[in-house]
Subunit: 238 residues, 2 copies
DNA sequence: AATGGCGGTTGATTCAGATCAAAGGCGGCC
DNA sequence: GGCCGCCTTTGATCTGAATCAACCGCCATT
């Protein structure tokens, strides 16, 4: 069982019981019989780098369980300004909406594999399963809490604090999936990071450079190494 | 049946069926028998202006249904910077948390009345009620969506757009409770608005003044009148 | 090995909003 | 009525991050 940040190649669709992200996902709440039932509803789908899985304003036809890879979730203003509201990792569940349309867009950062459920079938499946509904609640409330943390970041923190908070948060999320590590892979572009933190690409780049000059991080191609994790954590906490 | 932004005076605890905010609240999902059951679990409580109903990091002991008045929900950074993550209005349900502790503080803007439920009792009450769990989901997902909208505002909008978006959003929320109106009551202080929008009090004040100079709004004590709603909406949409 | 393109970095300058400072306005209270 | 304190507005100045503008490094293509 390994969690992959990149979908390697179209693999056979294995049974839900063997699903590598099961215990991190919604499906952790299901028993064996339910998993077998669910198996008929989900279809594995692959998306290539930068492909869009669903777009803002599109009708919601499916729910999605991310299996491999990383996705960016973002909202666009009419004039093109973009705010990334989150990055999705394996185990994340997408497609819950208040209305019948998606309120944000989601596309692949690198190749991804997704487990897709028809909206209607899935809705029927969960309808009377209180334990599953409670699990969905738990996920929704956790996401809401993260969203509120992010509001604090966007509204009240300096560029340096934003970048540090992002590094620590991303490291911790990856750590929960694959265990702790001092080097943090950053599959997303600088522009993505900027749009997530409410900054410009130049400011993100300058801030990374400053942290590197201060011997706090090391900038590597596609990743950042935390030379002084305590300093980064301090910046993130402050 | 009237919805009040201010709790007038300690009133008798009327039965849930007569609750003025029922159809806006969680309880809209309950039938008569369930309402009668719930009646024994909820207690009406009053709070005076600026009193804290619960604080960040405090253990969660209760759930709360706001009946009358307005509350501010906010997070504090260690150095005192504050981000208001939302304002609560009658019908709003508070106290759902991912952990056992509150992730934000909530206090009264003006006098409020709250229907308080013991956490354990309420958890037992909803445990197997799928329709109620679905309703809670609906509320959580709606809040998440609002939070994402607010991230866009905080990360990507100018001061003028922020203020306009706030005015329109607040007007619409009040409108849903008490019908449309051209004059928007603002029970919260300028500082609250600033901390909600990720601005300073001076910038909020200046932006209001500018909109008034442009004949777009009229600044009244405790409220704002929208002279040119279309202009405000345009600023908010842009 | 040259060419072109793209993502990232760096530098110079500008500007929106923050900060610092002072003065109004208004209600509560003696 | 007059004084106090708080909230809000207004003005002057400053500054962190945005904007504008090169430029670098690296890979892919020819």
């Amino acid at each position: 069982m390994k969690i992959s940040l990149v979908a390697v190649e179209p693999n056979e669709q294995q049974p839900c019981v063997d699903c590598s992200v099961r215990q991190f996902s919604l499906c952790a709440a299901l028993d064996r019989a339910e998993l077998r039932e669910l198996e008929h509803l989900g279809r594995h789908v692959h998306f290539a780098t930068c492909e869009t899985v669903f777009a803002q304003e599109e009708m919601t036809t499916s729910f999605y369980n991310l299996l491999e890879g990383v996705m960016r979730l973002y909202k666009l203003l009419p004039d093109g300004r973009r705010q990334i509201v989150g990055f999705a990792l394996p185990g994340d569940f997408l497609g819950m909406t208040a209305s019948a349309r998606h309120s944000f867009s989601a596309d692949a950062i690198g190749p991804v594999t997704i487990c897709r459920f028809s909206r209607a079938a899935f809705a029927r499946f969960i309808e009377d399963k209180a334990h599953l509904l409670r699990r969905i609640n738990e996920l929704a409330v956790r996401e809401l809490s993260q969203a509120q943390d992010h509001m604090v970041l966007l509204g009240r923190r300096s560029a340096e604090e934003k970048v540090a908070t992002f590094l620590i948060g991303w490291r911790d999320r990856l750590g929960r999936l694959s265990g702790p590590a001092k080097t943090v892979p950053l599959p997303m572009s600088r522009q993505d990071i900027a749009d997530y933190l409410g900054l410009t690409i130049e400011t993100v780049s300058r801030t990374f450079t400053k942290l590197e000059r201060d011997r706090v991080i090391d900038i590597l191609p596609g990743s950042i190494s935390l030379l002084d994790p305590a300093r980064v954590e301090a910046l993130a906490a402050a």
